[in-house]
């Protein structure tokens, strides 16, 4: 997979084997993702999409092969890596005594965002949280908590945004708005990597699609991939 002419690869994985323990969950993966590009990872349940994403963001060690971000091996312990990479995986954990808005402010201020309150207000509106943002997480629905987790990825700067099934627990309208946000983000120069089962989100956002499977991991263009996603 190559990026558009002139763009540099931000994230590079070569012969990457991922899994828990010593057993790979899918075939080895090769991928390159540059700034301003979006790659969707698709595959059936249990095919290793989430494991792949967790390995790419340094939360799991590769069984074999390498992952490089901006020329340096991926290491989530490095502050620079955490500054560059925003990830929303399958976490649904919140501080019980902080409101949704406070979670977002913590993220924004933790990343040194200027005018953090204004940025948070904007994302609260964009994700349809409104006055629910001032409620404690226990008072939010699972969909609202998902919106809150996603909003946290947007209140901070990042060069690479990694999302694991971002459409999960979102209504159709929010899915469409999220896809539009991801497109504008990609067009502004952020690299976007997402695992998804939603053919519309993939078609709207992705420049290329990585189909993850036991036998081989293949790169397809979004049009080719649409049929494959429908089969899954």
């Amino acid at each position: 997979m190559r990026n558009a002419p002139g763009s540099l690869d931000l994230l590079v994985a070569e012969e990457l084997s991922v899994g828990h323990g010593s057993a790979p969950v899918c075939a080895p993966v090769d991928l390159r993702l540059g700034a301003g590009r979006a790659l969707a990872v698709v595959g059936p349940n249990g095919s290793g999409k989430s494991t792949l994403l967790r390995t790419l963001v340094g939360l799991l060690e590769p069984l074999a092969g390498s992952v490089v971000l901006d020329g340096a091996p991926v290491d989530e312990r490095a502050a620079a890596f955490r500054r560059d990479v925003a990830a929303v995986l399958d976490d649904d954990a919140f501080f019980v005594s902080l409101t949704g808005r406070e979670h977002l402010l913590l993220t924004a201020r933790g990343h040194g965002v200027a005018a953090a309150e204004d940025v948070v207000d904007a994302e609260v509106e964009a994700f349809g949280l409104g006055n629910r943002a001032d409620a404690l997480p226990s008072a939010l629905s699972s969909g609202q908590r998902r919106r809150l987790a996603l909003a946290a990825a947007f209140v901070r700067p990042a060069r690479l945004l990694v999302l694991d099934e971002p459409e999960r627990r979102l209504d159709a309208g929010m899915r469409a708005r999220l896809a539009a946000r991801l497109v504008s983000l990609r067009n502004a120069g952020t690299a976007v990597l997402l695992a998804s089962h939603d053919a519309d989100v993939v078609a709207t956002v992705a420049d290329e699609v990585l189909v993850v499977d036991d036998d081989a991991c293949r790169l397809l263009d979004p049009v080719e991939a649409a049929g494959r996603i429908a089969e899954l």
């Binding site: 799991l60 620079a80 955490r82 501080f95 924004a108 201020r109 933790g110 965002v113």
Partner: protein, 372 residues
Amino acid sequence: MTTSTTVAPLDGAAVRRWTRTATAARARTTLGERLSDAWGGLVSAGIGVAVAGGSLASLRERIALAGAPITGTTLPASLTSAALALLALAGVVVVLARLGPVSATPAAAAWWLPLPADRRGLLRGELVRLTAAGVAVAVLLALPLVFGAAAAPTAASVLRGLGGAVVLAVAAVGGTALLQTRRRGRGVAGLAGAVAGAAAVVPAVVGTVAAGGGAPVDVPAAGTPPGWAVAVAAVAAAALLVQADRGLGRLDAARLLAGGAAARYAGGSLLSMDTRQLGRALAGRDRPPRRSRRFRPVRRPWQAVVATDLAVLARGRWQLGQLAVAAAVPVVVARTAGLGALPPAVWAGCLLGWGLAAAVLAQLGRRRSPGG
């Protein structure tokens, strides 16, 4: 995401402070209520210590009054005290190693660890809390040993004994945390488990053999450690803790989260006094089977239950050793000079053994998932 970084991001300590302040602002308790709670806690702890001290004094008196024959074929109290101290220390190390020991709650893992803030600043509070908890547990475990080891405990000997226990606890926390920061802690739990097994089983075997063969058990009496030894050990323990603190930035999010999940599970089990869940929370990974068992002799439902339990027992790394310790503890108590003549002491030993066995037997079959 149209944000830009134009101000200094919060450092680790500031993130912790910010979270604490935001949480406190929402707390419905007043300062007076918190002080009252703290006072209540102190009074409760004092009453607990006084009750424990009274029970120990009563125990010593009953041993003296029982006039039980203390012969060469019973285990000296000093040997049993040393074995129990080693067992307790090894147990604490096993628990620390299982929990990380430094860990992050799921919320902290989700909202603190992805920040560019220095991880050392974020995790230092956790290390301090862990050390305080280790010290509290060490004092509680050491009280009966300190009062039981010396024939006539003095204030100085009690302080030295408790000081030694505190130092060991700090060293255990610092040492396991240091190994965790250097990613060398994998074998610690196994080693400590083996030490715990030996500390319980060897005296039980020695006591049983001595009783059967009439051979004397000759062990020099052990007192509380001398003050200089406690001081030297304290310096070493503090050095371990400082080194561990310096390495906190090297800890990775995945292991911190795994430790936090185990700590949360174990803490909940402890509060609900559920030994089965506690056993599951602290259990290590089972040995991967080489092949599936056929269960050919199984003909009836109860045989299926027993056969699967035995299969799981055989696959565990810990279960057999823990069962051996569970069986050995009441034997050691029953064979100890003085204690063995007191039914309540033997019952307490049996209860402790039952607790250990219950914790390990919870590992057997009938679980929803590997995570419990």
